[in-house]
């Protein structure tokens, strides 16, 4: 045995410990590095517009006036639509797979969901533009206008005004929902599967129906995992770029109608990076990226805080 081998075996524990610290530390370093780098490369825009960037809806490359508000608005609205559709559907799908479906059905549908998650986002984007958007324009949007439009539902009907063009905020939200659905339902399925059978049995043993066991015990038991799954989907939806860029319409506009074209932070970045000739333009785009990073960061923090609070109040198991 060489001296090196000897040294290695003698100090293996210490070396291994430092190795793990190094690996874990890298994560923190990358995180800090990103913040610093983005902030540095956005310094011109930060200096010029300050925090007012966040609520200014100007976006005029000719006058070098930039504001993030329309992009932030579009990001939030498209994500909200996506979450409002994907979360309830995922809960139902996951419950079906775990509680109700025949094991074979559960396996087949489960694999299909995992495959859905593996489809690259560019495919969703192209499909969205060439297949889904025409369907939206010809069928879904006119239908919504007829049933929920301004004449039928005052106020809320404003969401469905305007020309049914197929692309726009609503289509982007729906495509996003489709994209995050497999992620959320796959994680939720695992969460529900982890609820100990004996806990469910004792709920059934009290004379509960499947529905009662599900919403009073299983859902509560897995609440932390469920919230985790939701935030995983939320994080994806906030940052999703390709598919959204294809169908959102890419206009710096804030409109009450979901049929109108809009943009999101990610889609703005994807579209305009190549055009950013002026330094202030480029710095504004990077500033926009920094805003997205900070947004996701705080959302994750909020999620963790929420889960910790729930754990304290319910003593949930997961």
């Amino acid at each position: 045995m060489t001296r090196f081998h000897e040294y290695l075996s003698e100090h293996f524990e210490t070396i291994f410990r430092w190795f793990t610290i190094l690996c874990a530390g890298t994560v923190l370093l990358i995180m800090a590095g990103m913040f610093i780098n983005l902030a540095w490369n956005a310094r011109l825009a930060i200096g010029e517009f300050g925090l007012g960037f966040l609520w200014s809806d100007a976006w005029d490359p000719a006058l070098n006036e930039y504001g993030a508000f329309s992009s932030i608005y579009g990001t939030l609205v498209s994500t909200l639509i996506a979450m409002a559709i994907a979360v309830p559907m995922s809960v139902v799908i996951a419950l079906f797979l775990v509680e109700l479906a025949h094991p074979t059905v559960s396996k087949v549908v489960g694999s299909a969901i995992e495959l859905l998650a593996a489809i690259p986002s560019i495919i969703y984007g192209m499909w969205g533009l060439f297949v889904f958007a025409p369907i939206m324009a010809e069928t879904v949007q006119p239908f919504l206008q007829e049933t929920l439009g301004l004449e039928k539902v005052p106020g809320l009907g404003r969401l469905f005004t305007g020309a049914p063009m197929g692309i726009g905020m609503l289509t982007a939200g729906l495509i996003l929902a489709l994209m995050i659905l497999p992620f959320i339902s796959a994680v939720m399925r695992d969460v529900f599967a982890m609820v100990p059978p004996v806990v469910k049995e004792s709920a059934y043993g009290m004379g509960s129906t499947t529905w009662e066991v599900t919403h009073k015990v299983t859902l509560r038991y897995g609440i932390q995992g469920i919230i985790g799954a939701c935030f995983l989907g939320l994080g994806r939806a906030l940052g999703e770029t390709m598919a959204v860029t294809f169908v959102i319409g890419n206009a710096h506009r804030i409109s009450p109608s979901l049929y109108d074209a809009g943009n999101s932070i990610a889609s703005t970045l994807a579209n305009e990076f190549a055009e950013a000739s002026e330094p202030i333009y480029l710095h504004s785009l990077i500033y926009l990226g920094l805003v997205l990073l900070v947004m996701t960061f705080f959302i994750q923090l909020a999620a963790q805080w929420w889960v910790a609070r729930l754990k304290k109040s319910m003593g949930a198991g997961l």
Binding site: V198, K200, M206, S208, T209, R220
Partner: protein, 265 residues
């Protein structure tokens, strides 16, 4: 009274059994786990079910509230009469059967909610009660499970924050809150410490005035201490059933004797 009409436990208890099992076979898919089990459960008595691991004790117990039906590959043949009515008859409402036949499991299974909500859970399922009546019933159930004094100030704490023994008594409180007739206990003390076990044994003694109790246990001292009747299971058959005293002092069957004297199991 003629011999034919006498329940299987003889003359030592009420002549009308709470539960009568006749010719019960049980299958996990193709594997048969119980073979023509016959037994009578005396009302307001404790019946212990003993036997080596894997002999079908829990399987047998899980027929009484039809909880096995949650698993599609499990099925039974034979009859189980509760108050003379076959629990598999189409007229029997499954959810009501499970209210009438409560179950306590090996590990405490508090639901992920507060102590109060745990006990209120079943009451809300089966009865429409006012808030004040609910409070009263929860208190009563917790007193019935000898837990009230310990948790009266912790009602809003999560059920999982209690100690193991307290959690198990919480589960008993939850079960008795819906006014069952029978309590099935599947090795209820195997996951908790000796002092908490003693408390639960004491509780079982007290509960049998109101409820009929069937307890599966691998602890023979426990069976001897708390039960009135004992059934000895072996490889899916009920080898011997009779008064606990007789089973433990003068077993008729060689296998029973070997088991209770600790020669196997």
């Amino acid at each position: 009274m003629s011999d034919v009409k006498l329940p299987l436990y003889g003359e030592m208890a009420d002549p009308t059994p709470k539960i009568s099992v006749r010719g019960l076979d049980f299958f996990y898919g193709d594997h048969q786990a119980l073979f023509s089990n016959d037994i009578d459960i005396a009302p307001n008595r404790v019946t212990a079910v003993i036997g080596p691991s894997g002999c079908g004790k829990s399987t047998h117990l899980r027929v009484y509230n039809r909880i096995f039906e949650l698993y599609r590959e499990q099925r039974v043949k034979g009859a189980v009469l509760l108050n003379g009515e076959n629990i598999f008859a189409p007229t029997v409402k499954l959810l009501d059967l499970r209210r009438r036949v409560g179950m306590i499991f090996q590990k405490p299974t508090p639901f992920p909610m507060s102590v109060f909500e745990n006990v209120a859970y079943g009451i809300r399922l089966h009865y429409a009660v006012s808030k004040s009546e609910l409070d009263g019933r929860v208190e009563e159930a917790l007193k019935g499970a000898a837990l009230w004094e310990e948790v009266r100030d912790l009602l809003n704490r999560p059920g999982t924050a209690l100690s193991g023994g307290q959690q198990q008594r919480l589960c008993i409180a939850r079960a008795i809150a819906v006014e069952p007739e029978v309590l099935l206990m599947d090795e209820p003390t195997s996951a908790i410490d000796p002092i908490a076990t003693a408390k639960i044994e004491e509780l079982v003694e007290g509960l049998k005035g109101k409820y009929t109790i069937v307890i599966v246990t691998h602890n023979m001292q426990q069976a001897a201490r708390i039960s009135d009747f004992t059934a000895f299971f072996f490889k899916g058959y009920i080898i011997e059933f009779g008064a606990t005293k007789q089973i433990f002092t003068n077993p008729h069957n060689k296998k029973t004797e070997e088991y209770i004297t600790g020669r196997f199991g």
